[in-house]
Subunit: 346 residues, 4 copies
């Protein structure tokens, strides 16, 4: 089959690779009908992720049709329309039983090489092998657009999990650091959960416009404090979601949160340590919580919200491309010219 | 001053009554600038509430300006713009300390005679005495329209409390029995809190249209089951909010909720007992929870939501009248020709 | 194999029945080393449960050793020591994904005939077939006594779920209606979760003594109100757990709960309706919640509590018998001479 | 009156100071019958707290009898027996309304000079002026020993708040860094809330013995990891409570918590920043939350727990002294020869 393959720093190409096969009774093979390029795909693209070697098939967001199932798969049959999760989890271990699938003892992430568990080829391809299919896959609900469902497999789940991890309450004022796809989804999720106001901070005007079109107030990072002060009688944000990664945005996030407030960080942190403002955190009784998306736990609810139209994540799609044009889309993405790219196989 | 006075069954009139005076150091006197007629005002109007005798000043939703304060009042000064709560509570007893102000040991409700505690004249008047002013009143936030704030003093708080009492979660499918003002507010509150769908059931077409205009699906009561089944793979509503009162609507509510689901009843129950379907409740692990609005506990959050425009309760206003025209509005209300009437003193 | 079989009203006998066999790839067969007689076993014994026909193998609490597994079982191997759940659930449906396994679309209860789903022979036997073994079974943790673990498979889980369903908070005063095994477990669970006081009401002195020995205050039902009033400044219990079943105890439970409090009913309700005191419930904003135990959801936590010794359910064991003596134990149980009987196969 | 006064680094003395007087209508004056020396009193003693100048009356834990009230005080009368809180809060501002009294806009701490708000003389004295008495004071419940109640005014509340802030769930394994008074209280609180095991780490054998006598497992700090690994199948603690302060213990706390787990830090942090292990926190989805005790919010529940005897904090009392002997007790405390000293005025 054809697939998008990491070919070295800043290089991806569409190559012929072996078709996936059932290698475990719990596997399913799906024909990918729709996948996506995610901001986190740029980390391997930029060669920032140890464990992603040339030849790795990329991509981890996908909707498709089941074409083969192992004999241990109970919930799915050939021809079922499904969505998945950006990672595989067993569904049975101590972590999975708690709903903490991302910490599953046999977790593996699609399209990240061996960075987050055993190697699993990615979803920017014609076909995909899905381990633990009964846990990882989910039926596409009647009436749910595939383009909305593909967001549920990762990026919308991540935004929603961030809001949930913050114990965001109705009436809260929220700040989101970063207007990339995860930041946009966090903004939408917080609005759906009853935020009184969401302030999205991003240096790019195009992303600020996108956030504003989706109901947020949007500002340059340097203006965030003043806007939040105005909204909160100078207390600061009840909740700050850090959706960029790295030390700078995390520091900004900590500076914007009010006393007793919570910073949730979903952006990637590569540095070993961060100089956390601990005296201020002590005085202000702050919380700093990290979270990674977990579509498996939250998708039943998210699918209802996208099916009924309460959430429409497709408003952030900037391009729809065929598999052959994915390399060009990566290049544009790396230049900040894209927020979300859908890859349409059919 | 002039005030709306209960004058016997189905009779209200505007009469001259004594001006209120400070009778306790914690009292404030406010000049009422805006009040409202609430569906529950029809209970005394219909002579259904023991304790409401002729001569009782009616009304319990109000926004105003402070014109006098007792020497024990710390948070308010003359000329402050304020909203209140439909009942007074001390702020200090075991119940108030828990946030259960409606059960306060010295609770008294405005405009209900002695039905819910000591007699307090109502707010459909030129002036109002507010006991425990530091607890009962709240500053009108900058930017918050008075017409929205008046909803926070009772009916929007009741709708919100219903959603909260149900532990409604994002993605839930909610049914609301009744499209009166409380039902409309419950619908809005559930949507603001992330319901995937809200189905409002009411026999009146005009109320169904109002609910639909505010984002709900609306149906005749007899059609509710079919619509909910369609939305939930035949499970029924995750949450049902009963906002009419009496046995019939409560029975319907219990019939619409799914297994493990919750019915929250905010409608008035006058009968001593109700034949609760206990075998079904046991098999389906149902919850039935009663709740009364508590604006004191929830208004900080609600005011942020109405100030930012996330919630706009004014869309259900069907009339705006001067004090002199309140009697006519009661008559129309009793004929189901009104949903929410604002009484504008200025 | 030999098994305890329902032989008609008030008759059980030990009979030779066919050995269970693997009939589905997800099945496991366990050699039962320890089972128990539960108060709910008396319902079929008294012929109160439609669907339990003569010939039904009884029993639903069990610990054992795996002796065979279907090819779809991943978490267990022959010789593993395991405990189970009193019912089987698929682990994959909408209900199971939420942690509401008791409502599983393919739920079946061991030893209840066809009363709660498809017929599953019971655990008071030498061997047991366990469907959906990966979901229903659980490894016996190192250091966990089998006699404690057998409680986790039903009755302790039920007591714990009752406390959880009540949202019992540290410092609460709890009343438990009934000092049978479930009531005793509810008492222990509430104490473990931080109740300030638990009052167990039972007409039998022996059960009151047992409750007292396990840390509760215990009273005759008629004295409960006075004791609770004394503990709560006359407010009543924050939480009442009804662990008997039927209308009388439920009515008592509703009479003991304070305003804003919660009644959780885990006792069986056979009548279609119950005259719920709805005017009082409205005035006092009461909650009435039904719950059935769900060992699958809560056992990871319970096993830690029994392994560390924080909870010791074995203090309520009144007899330990061999399989041959189970009929006599049923007879004593029906005469209220037993609270908990363990059936030791080895 | 006589009072314990900070007299310079490592020096306290009992001096004659002016009697407190009502200076605001919401003030009460209490005759202190019982106060205590807290570990945090050693911070001013060691001259570590800017804002504590010589002449400052020390102490912030107290039980007493009301001897005078301002005319705005409603809940208390002369001769009432009361306990207080280690800090004063208004009860009316945005923070107080949320239950976040420690962040009150007019917060002031007793006995800390101007370190945490306006100067308030401390409680190690014959009399104490208590501002906002209706909010700060609380009646001593019938049957509640004064010696237990004095713990509720600070140190037990702090331990309880730590457990609460961690969202500690029944069955959790908890590690507590530090066996001082707060650590001991956190250990007790976590046990009362259903921890399966609490591991207290302290270098002092005497504190480990005290923790063990109160139900914890206790270890030298270097052994904590091994003990926790043994309890948790090598996952680490579900919750870690840091009750020492400073960077070292916080670093240890972060090293002991499992993935998805929570560190709650209640120890004082004087340094501006702390090198938080952010890559590990990202990978493990950790939470770090700071908290300060808030007796005002939690004491209703704690008083029930100490009155019923579920919690007995007095087991950690190492000395009971008269006011005149307080200086000697400070010296012993500074040498780690005391854990909790009660100061008995009568």
């Amino acid at each position: 089959m054809r697939a998008v393959v990491y070919a070295g720093p800043h290089q991806v190409s569409v190559q012929q690779v072996p078709d996936p096969v059932i290698s475990d009774p719990e596997d399913a093979i799906i024909k990918v009908t729709l996948s996506a390029i995610c901001g986190t795909d740029l980390h391997p693209y930029r060669h920032e992720v140890p464990g992603v070697d040339p030849g790795t098939v990329l991509g981890h967001e996908y909707v498709g049709e089941v074409v083969a199932v192992g004999q241990g798969v109970r919930s799915f049959r050939v021809e079922d329309l499904v969505l998945g999760s950006f990672f595989a989890a067993c569904g049975r271990c101590w972590w999975c039983r708690r709903g903490d699938h991302w910490q599953c003892e046999s977790r593996a992430a699609f399209g990240y090489g061996s960075a987050f568990g055993e190697y699993l080829p990615g979803a920017q391809a014609e076909f995909l092998r899905v381990p633990h299919a009964d846990t990882v896959l989910c039926h596409l609900p009647p009436g749910c657009p595939a383009e909305a469902a593909v967001f549920v497999t990762d990026v919308l789940a991540t935004g929603f999990v961030a809001a949930e991890r913050a114990d965001m309450r109705p009436g809260d004022t929220v700040a989101v650091m970063g207007g990339g796809a995860v930041g946009q989804m966090a903004s939408m999720a917080c609005q759906a959960l009853g935020a009184a106001a969401v302030v999205v901070a991003d240096p790019l005007a195009s992303r600020r416009e996108m956030a504003a079109a989706n109901g947020a107030l949007s500002v340059s990072p340097g203006d965030a404090r003043a806007v939040l002060d105005d909204l909160t009688e100078n207390r600061g944000a009840d909740v700050v979601i850090e959706a960029v990664g790295g030390a700078g945005p995390l520091e900004s996030a900590c500076a914007l949160v009010r006393r007793r407030g919570t910073v949730v960080a979903v952006g990637v942190q590569f540095e070993a340590t961060f100089p956390y403002p601990v005296a201020r955190a002590f005085a202000g009784e702050l919380s700093l919580r990290f979270a990674t998306g977990n579509s498996i736990r939250v998708r039943d609810r998210l699918l209802r919200l996208v099916t009924s139209g309460v959430l429409d994540p497709t408003t952030i799609v900037t391009s729809r491309v065929k598999l052959d044009h994915v390399p060009g889309a990566y290049a544009r993405f790396a230049e900040h010219q894209e927020v979300k790219v859908l890859v349409c196989n059919s």
